[in-house]
């Protein structure tokens, strides 16, 4: 088990001692060359220094200095780096050079080697970040890359953290914190037990954490996102200020209070929207019903658009602006939803989320760990959580990345940690019934129905409706149906509850043909009746033993019933034995029977938990191996 702890760094006991000016640690090229080039690695980080020099809570300078021995082509990636600039951060200098292993300089970074760009990333239509991009490499391997850059901040809100490990060995990693005046801050660490060296001079203090000879990060298949970094030291200032908004990290309540102030006065609806909300909820008998109506209205009325300017990365646009623009990002749409709920006297609050794909919130480390906002509605009978950016969810349902997260609810107490619910395997189902006729040349003509619920329905709806090909039949037949069937051709494909009734299962009725479903030879026909779900070896993590859990996107269960009318004149020569497995983490069952030349095959599978813990891994691995073997086996018909 990894230990977690949190320390508060006070400044009351400062001892003023003389300290020398900072000299970036130097390692000679000869040191680098010695004994390293034969290592089977793409590169070696010889030195990684991060210096954060805080003048006061509104002024700090970050210096990065890295020295990397590049050994393979892939290691050249270390020469690709970018520096982000925005209203709070300005890049003051970038320098880089390439040396041979004898320390002779081969190349120096020139101004025109630095590309400036301000393309907004991912789903953000526009943000005001600007980037300085560097791609710096040397054609002949091996070589030494060294670079430095400096960024000036006008806030300590973006206090850099320390992640000393890489995917390659690190010889030495240093985090140097320089305080020109007493500044309170908190840290949170994992895998780093060392104390810093402290140098004091008058009011000034320097703290230096150093780690040497670090192994590369451990990587395992499907590891939980929270385990991707195994050594880190996180920082947060006890007091910070962003665009005049002062905040504190000494408690979640204080941190939440800062967030609450950012949204002050932004919950007002336009008069037109007030009328709409009144009308929408006029006939509703319960608050739950009202929230359902308002959530559905939100989904239809708005679209997700992220425009992030300055503090807009944290501060929502007003509900009024969402009323007019009919768009917004997660915090804007949440503000709008909360405003609508409040308008009909239902208390509702924004909740800050670190989505599950980013890891798990460090609950005892109040700080800016969040990347998302949802709405929380504490109804008397039950609470409702609302993902305001999702177009294909029922009110109260959450997508997988929001499930089971510790979140910070910004309520009257300012900030309160709560946990979002997570659906169990029996709520995330796929169930199907397919009936088909198999011909002796291997063709299968089939009709069937498949139902999706919970997260399976959410993912499927999103997949169908956001695919750029637009043709639903084509998307379904070349996607879900084609995972194990070769080129199914659909004559019919009708969906129910695809664009509405999100609280009901998504249903697809279909019929079609797979021309080469079975493999036929002179005497035999080989086929696998597990048409829709199978586990294959690629679903099994590669490791014999695990350090970390196996992470599923969400728990699920499937049940598939397949009825195949067999071609006449054939006998069943071979079939996998029916199998039933039951474990604390899942179950699997197959069965079959043949009656009046019709094969009925049933396959059930469930994984109960999002995570399979390392202590269960051995049992999980044997479970999966048995499932894979069973799912791979063919039914064989022999000509009588």
């Amino acid at each position: 088990m990894h230990s977690f702890s949190r320390r508060r760094h006070g400044v009351r006991f400062l001892i003023f001692i003389l300290f020398s000016f900072i000299v970036l640690t130097d390692i000679s090229a000869a040191d680098i060359a010695a004994g390293t080039s034969s290592e089977n690695t793409d590169a070696i980080v010889v030195l990684d220094e991060l210096e954060f020099h805080i003048k006061n809570i509104n002024s700090a300078v970050l210096n990065i200095h890295r020295k990397v021995q590049v050994l393979r082509e892939k290691g050249k990636e270390f020469g690709r780096f970018s520096v982000t600039e925005n209203r709070y951060a300005k890049c003051k200098k970038i320098s880089a050079r390439i040396l041979d292993l004898d320390g002779k300089e081969l190349k120096e970074l020139k101004k025109d080697d630095i590309l400036k760009a301000n393309i907004s990333p991912g789903n953000t239509i526009y943000d005001d970040n600007k980037y300085r991009l560097v791609e710096f490499a040397w054609p002949q391997l091996p070589y030494i890359l060294e670079y430095e850059y400096e960024v000036e901040f006008n806030t300590v809100f973006m206090w850099p953290d320390w992640f000393p490990q890489e995917d390659v060995p690190v010889r030495k990693s240093v985090y140097r914190l320089m305080l020109d005046e007493p500044v309170n801050y908190y840290t949170y660490h994992r895998g780093i037990e060392i104390s810093p060296d402290v140098i004091k001079k008058g009011k000034k203090q320097t703290l230096i954490w150093t780690l040497e000879n670090l192994e590369p990060r451990l990587k395992e298949d499907w590891m939980p996102p929270e385990d991707r970094h195994q050594k880190y030291l996180l920082f947060t200032p006890a007091e910070f200020q962003l665009d005049g908004y002062k905040g504190y990290s000494d408690s979640w309540a204080h941190f939440g209070e800062w967030d609450r102030r950012l949204a002050n006065g932004r919950y007002q609806l336009t008069p037109e929207l007030q009328n709409t909300v009144r009308k929408l909820t006029a006939d509703c008998r319960t608050d739950r019903e009202k929230i359902g109506k308002l959530y559905s209205f939100l989904q239809n009325y708005t679209r997700y658009v992220s425009i992030s300017l300055g503090i807009g990365g944290w501060q929502p646009n007003s509900a009024e602006s969402v009323c007019t623009n009919k768009y917004g990002d997660c915090k804007d749409l949440t503000t709008f939803m909360v405003a609508m709920a409040n308008f009909v006297d239902i208390p509702a609050y924004p909740a800050l989320v670190k989505t599950r794909d980013k890891g798990v919130l460090f609950r005892d480390f109040p700080s800016n760990q969040f990347n998302h906002v949802i709405a929380f509605v504490p109804l008397p009978d039950d609470t409702m959580w609302l993902e305001c950016t999702a177009d294909y969810l029922a009110a109260g349902d959450l997508p997988p990345d929001d499930e089971g997260c510790f979140v910070l609810v910004i309520n009257e107490k300012n900030g309160e940690i709560m946990r979002t619910p997570a659906k169990s395997a029996d709520k995330n189902t796929v169930s199907s019934i397919i009936t088909g006729d198999l011909t002796n040349d291997g063709e299968l003509q089939f009709t069937g129905q498949v139902k999706f619920t919970g997260n399976n329905a959410f993912s499927r709806r999103a997949g169908l409706l956001t695919d750029e090909r637009k043709d639903l039949r084509q998307i379904f037949s070349t996607g879900f149906l084609a995972k194990y069937l070769s080129s199914p051709s659909l004559q019919r494909c009708d969906f129910e509850n695809l664009r509405d009734n999100f609280d009901l299962p998504l249903i697809c009725d279909f019929s079609g043909t797979v021309r080469k479903y079975a493999v036929s030879s002179a005497r035999r026909i080989f086929f696998n009746p597990a048409l829709l779900h199978r586990e294959t070896a690629s679903d099994l993590p590669g490791e014999e033993e695990r350090e970390f859990a196996v992470n599923y996107y969400f728990p699920y269960s499937t049940i598939d019933t397949v009825r195949i009318n067999l071609p006449s004149g054939y006998d069943l020569e071979a079939a996998p034995e029916p199998l039933e497995l039951s474990a604390p983490f899942g179950k699997y069952r197959t069965s079959y029977e043949i009656r009046e030349n019709q094969l009925t095959f049933v396959r059930e599978e469930a994984i109960y938990n999002k995570k399979i813990q390392p202590e269960d891994y051995a049992a999980y691995r044997s479970f999966m191996k048995a499932v894979i073997k069973n799912d791979k086996a063919n039914f064989v018909l022999n000509w009588m």
Binding site: Y126, W138, P139, Q140, K326, K470, R499, S521, A537, V636
Partner: protein
């Protein structure tokens, strides 16, 4: 499309005389019919999330010697997904001016919500481009959105290209180009045929010179299906209906200016611009003997200089035909764009007395060259064309995994423009050789518990070799090789592997994999069943769609062969083998042969592709060919226990 900014071209425009600007009548802004506002489903495509009702552009030349384009787009939103059409990005050349942006949403009840100027943002994009970005406010399902803008450019030589097709179904796409007297533009059409290719013509009066009349040409296309990418389709723009305009001449009563009209015109101007990039500096001259050694053989010299340019300079993958750095600077930086690396090679070859010329190509990602359109914007890379005796050399030093005289995959195009001083000549580039092959030999043994173990030796040549080398060098080598195995045998374990000639580009890559697959075969009673143990079989048909509207482009021809010798447990005999299979369609064939011997089974699989482009009319055959191949590759072998061996 890149825009030229060579000084020599801009200079010519300084002598132009003023002409009037044509008044342009647009579709009425904000006037939308009740029927359109009420429309819930688009009759021609009931699943369409949005429909472009019209996309209308008016291109003209102003009295201020600039090109103006006014564009007005109107889109009907039919579903939640269609709302994405309201997030607009307009890309433009960084020296042009894009302004007067207006956008609005018209709700089904007729209410209008306008875009605020503060909601318009600007971004810088790589390669000299910028873009305006905005999200049109107030969009609902059922609403109509529209936006318009004006683009001004001082670069009259190339007018804005016009793409008729969009991601969404387009009801009407119309572009008018108003040409003033004296100007002579050529219009180049892509994927527009028949009557649609012929514009309507109309005279117009020039306001400030009433005695003179200009001419407006209008192309109008209706009911165009949306277009999106499909497998084996590299450049979507190659398949979109499009128009390109190029100024070739200006003449008035006092003067006459001929712009690029022919490839020779273009070569003359470009040759002037390129001159300084042939210059050798002292450092480069000093480097030459070191590179060439004491070789006196010209082809060997060419090879050495190519290899130095390829390996000695890091590649910056910027697509441009304009070098920014001279060869000496490229040498100093040890980094250059493909074009800069090739100019370095050119200058060294010339210095060594070898006849070498720049050759402009449009790489596969950039699109197909239109041969009768002398336009620089078509090209995105300069490679090297050299001649020695009867031998022609085509070289691109960009890709460090390409052996001498093998062009990178992205360069596999049929033609290029050779700049021979003041002459420009379209030259055929020979298609890549037919040595792109994967040869696999497998020796393996199946035991009576169904476990398989053995060895594969894989030899790769041509582009197969190049692609594999790149993978092995830029990914986790062991993981990648392991995945080669597990892609085919899902339970396989890679025991050991060896790679020969990884660093010797001139020798074919050879990979040896020792592996084992526990419980490979299914055992039921006295029978053993297993699928054919290929390392390189076809699991799935890549052509899932029943119909295809665009050609399938394989890039290069290839040959795959795999020979397996499989020992079976001695107490078993072969009960049944999959049928031998031979598939032949025009330019593709597949053969599966099996023979049983004393100790087991010999399996031979060949798949050869002898042409690279398959047209939509051939798609059905190709799809069915792949379907049959997938089925044959899944063939099953049945072994049965020999009665004596069972003790019966």
């Amino acid at each position: 499309m890149s825009r030229t900014n060579l000084p020599v071209l801009m200079f010519l425009f300084c002598f132009m005389v003023f002409f009037g600007q044509q008044a342009v009548a647009q579709e009425k802004w904000g006037k939308v019919s009740k029927e359109v506002l009420a429309m819930k489903v688009f009759p021609e495509d009931s699943t369409a999330p949005a429909v472009v009702l019209f996309d209308v552009g008016k291109i003209s030349i102003t009295q201020q010697f600039s090109m103006n384009m006014e564009r007005h787009v109107r889109i009907k939103i039919l579903s939640e997904e269609g709302k994405d059409a309201a997030n607009v990005k307009i890309r433009y050349f960084h020296k042009d001016n894009l302004g007067r942006i207006e956008a609005q949403t018209i709700l089904p009840n007729g209410k209008k919500i306008k875009l605020n100027g503060k909601q318009i943002f600007e971004e810088s994009v790589k390669n000299y481009y910028k873009q305006k970005v905005f999200a049109i406010p107030g969009v609902e399902v059922g609403s109509v959105i529209e936006y318009k803008y004006k683009l001004s450019s001082e670069y009259l030589q190339m007018l804005e290209p016009w793409y008729f097709q969009n991601e969404y179904y387009t009801k009407l796409s119309k572009v008018s180009v108003s040409i003033l007297p004296g100007f002579h533009y050529n219009a180049f059409q892509r994927n527009i045929f028949g009557a649609e290719a012929v514009p309507t013509e109309e005279d117009f009066i020039i306001p400030s010179a009433t005695a003179k009349r200009g001419k407006a040409f209008t192309w109008e296309l209706e009911n165009l299906p949306g277009i999106s990418k499909e497998p084996y389709m590299l450049t979507l723009d190659d398949y979109r209906m499009a128009l390109f305009f190029q100024l070739i001449e200006y003449r008035d009563m006092y003067s006459s200016y001929r712009f690029i009209k022919t490839w020779d015109d273009l070569a003359e101007k470009l040759n002037e611009a390129y001159k300084e990039y042939y210059e050798m500096n002292g450092d480069l001259r000093k480097k030459m003997p070191e590179i060439m050694g004491d070789t006196q053989v010209i082809p060997e010299k060419i090879k050495k200089l190519y290899e130095f340019s390829r390996d000695g300079i890091e590649t910056d993958w910027l697509a441009t035909i304009y070098p920014r750095n001279k060869p000496g600077e490229v040498l100093e930086k040890r980094k250059g764009t493909p074009t800069e690396k090739n100019f370095l090679l050119l200058s060294m070859l010339r210095d060594a007395g070898i006849e070498a010329k720049p050759m402009l190509i449009s790489t596969r990602r950039n699109g197909t060259l239109i041969e009768n359109w002398p336009q620089l914007g078509q090209f995105d890379r300069v490679i090297v064309y050299a001649e020695y005796g009867s031998q022609k050399y085509f070289m691109d030093a960009a890709d460090r995994y390409c052996p001498f005289c093998v062009l990178p995959q992205n360069d596999i195009v049929s033609k290029g423009l050779v700049i021979d001083e003041s002459r420009g000549k379209i030259v055929d580039i020979p298609p890549p050789g037919n040595n792109n092959m994967t040869e696999i030999q497998g020796v393996m043994k199946l035991d009576s518990d169904g476990n398989l173990e053995g060895k594969f030796i894989m030899h790769l040549k041509g582009y197969r070799d190049i692609a594999m080398r790149e993978k092995l060098n830029t990914t986790d080598m062991e993981k990648y090789i392991s995945e080669l195995l597990t892609d085919q045998f899902s339970d396989a374990k890679l025991d050991t592997f060896e790679i020969a000639h990884l660093d010797s580009l001139n020798l074919p890559l050879a990979i040896t994999l020792n592996f084992s697959v526990p419980e490979f075969a299914q055992i039921v009673n006295d029978n053993i069943y297993f699928s054919l143990p290929f390392l390189n079989s076809q699991h799935k048909n890549p052509f899932r769609r029943a119909k295809r509207f665009f050609p399938v482009d394989f890039n290069y021809i290839f040959r795959n062969s795999e020979n397996i010798e499989l020992s079976i447990p001695k107490e078993f005999e072969i009960a049944e083998l999959p049928a031998q299979k031979t598939l032949n369609i025009k330019s593709a064939n597949y053969v599966l042969q099996l023979a049983s011997g004393e100790k087991g089974l010999s399996i031979r699989r060949n798949f050869n592709l002898d042409k690279t482009i398959f047209y939509p009319s051939e798609y059905g055959f190709l799809r069915s060919f792949y379907g049959e191949m997938v089925s044959a590759d899944q063939g099953q072998v049945v072994l049965r226990r020999i009665p004596d061996a069972a003790g019966n």
